[in-house]
Amino acid sequence: MLEVKSLSVSINGKPILDGLDLSVKAGEVAAIMGPNGSGKSTLSYVIAGKPDYEVTGGEVWFNGENLLELAPNERAAKGVFLAFQYPVEIPGVATMTFLKAALNAQHRARGEAELTTPEFMRAVRGAAASLKVDPEMLRRAVNVGFSGGEKKRVEILQMALLQPRLAVLDETDSGLDIDALRIVADGVNALRDPGRAFVIITHYQRLLDHIKPDVVHVMARGRIVKSGGPELALELERNGYRDYAEAAA
């Protein structure tokens, strides 16, 4: 589903990704772990299409399409979703309005019918209930005044509503207490599907206690330096990243 080939990326002339290779199959949950500064967030932003990143080499293919040639909104309509590490506050835009605009824009881009208001409301209420998001909160401006945990839950709510084919979760576990972590993990697990893939970026093992990955990749210095099964995450939890930071040097 996702093929990243020899991807090199710089920001302001500083190389961050250095010939990164990554392959994620449909139905797979891939965890990417690695120390601070290894380029994990950069990878997630480049997949989602954030400007300011200069791709200096390599390719990113998504279901046979060259992702790097598409605008961020086109990528979203093709089924790419990024759960932000720091969800952005948008004062003055009600969350409901935002959700409806996003869903309808994706439907339009795919040539599908837009949802009627009752259909939309039903979908939002269902997603909100399963993620224990107070529907009252969705009347407030996007992420404004939300706690860290609420912001992350609303990211997952968006994912549940938009039903992407590839979801990249960038440190969704940071800032979550145990209960919120479980709610978020349940939300992700509920969406696991043979046609859908997840890339879960995290520092810690604890999220992976709740979302069992199929593959674990270790990232250091801008590339994947080791890949393995779930046991690799446990090994990292015990030994830290020091070995990998050196290995990549």
């Binding site: 989602a48 299409g49 954030k50 400007p51 605008a71 961020p72 909104n73 990528r75 979203a76 309509a77 979703f81 990024l82 932000f84 969800p87 952005v88 948008i90 004062p91 003055g92 835009v93 309005t97 935002f98 605009a101 996003a102 869903l103 824009a105 994706q106 881009a109 401006a141 968006q158 938009l162």
Partner: protein
Amino acid sequence: MSVHSLSVKTAAETALAQQFAALPPSEPRRAAFAAFDQRGLPNRRDEAWHYTDLRARLAEAAPLAPAPDAARLEAAASALAALPRLGDMRLVLVDGRWAAALCDPPPSGLTVAPARDAPEPDEAVVALNAAFTEGALRIGLPPGEITLVIAHIDGPGAIFSRIEVSVPARARVTIVERFEGGNGQTQRNAMATLALGEGARCDWTTLIGDDAALHLETRRTRLAGDATFNDFGFVCGGALVRRQLDVSHQAPGAKIALAGLSLLDGTRHADTTLAVRHSAPRGESREYFRHIVADAASGVFQGKVIVAPLAQKTDGAMKSQALLLSPTASMSNKPELEIFADDVVCGHGATVGALDPQQIFYLLSRGIPEREAEAMLLEAFGAEAIERVADEAVAESLRERLSQWLKGRAA
């Protein structure tokens, strides 16, 4: 050393003098025009006009619009019919003159009569208004609560109008003033004075949504003790717009809130210049202005708050925020505080920026196309200003104008 001379008249100044000479003689008008003639059109050397050089921008003075005839009134009536109905009474001016036949019958206690006195010609635009306005109106409002619509239906030509409004003690009035019908040949000079009695309240919303070549607007407001004045200016039209609002209170406890939203595109230029004079204790003033400036348009905000030595316990806060949507759009912000009392709280803030790229990316990443994402953010930015309008029906009509303007941009 440099010597400035304004002795050479511009074409517009010469035309104004010729137009004035052709009018029937009248002593107060002659004095007003002499006051103008001495100064000439305001230009960048006048501090208050530094960012809006009217002398340079006004290439020619439009001929005076004649008093409306039957055909003109009929056309104005159909323009009026297209406007939404609001309020208890509609007062209509056509080309600056009171069109009694198009007005609603006044509710009891509301009086409309010719104004007696011309304003002191202490400033060029006011002097021109005093020299040229025919049929200035004095509106007396009844006690109690009332909503009044003042509709200016203007055609081509130079159009001068003046309205004096007085609100009795403890009365409450909502005024919606709209300028309509102007086009590339319209040069407007509209003046209004407002006197608020003790404990009275006025909510005044002005909509400038037509395409007048020139819109000059002067509003002078005086508040008695404990009176409240809320003003909102919505500018989404006019090639060259200058709104100058002067608000003062001589007795304690006045509350003043001035706010506005300007939507500027093309090569429009809109200038909002405020003077708020606290001359008595315990006054409160809030200024909250937002500007969206696109294309090669330019915005100006000048806000001056003057706190006299007597005006202890004054509480003032001023804010002007602009979003620039293109590299050729510009905004000049000039907030000023002149504080002569020692026990006051006054602050101001002015920002000029672009749309936040993080917010744009967040919306894009959810599938929302760029134009739509921008429009969502702009709508939110503008709506926060419109929140200052107390009357929900009026606020809703402004939100609709905002979203129309945004749709027009996206098209």
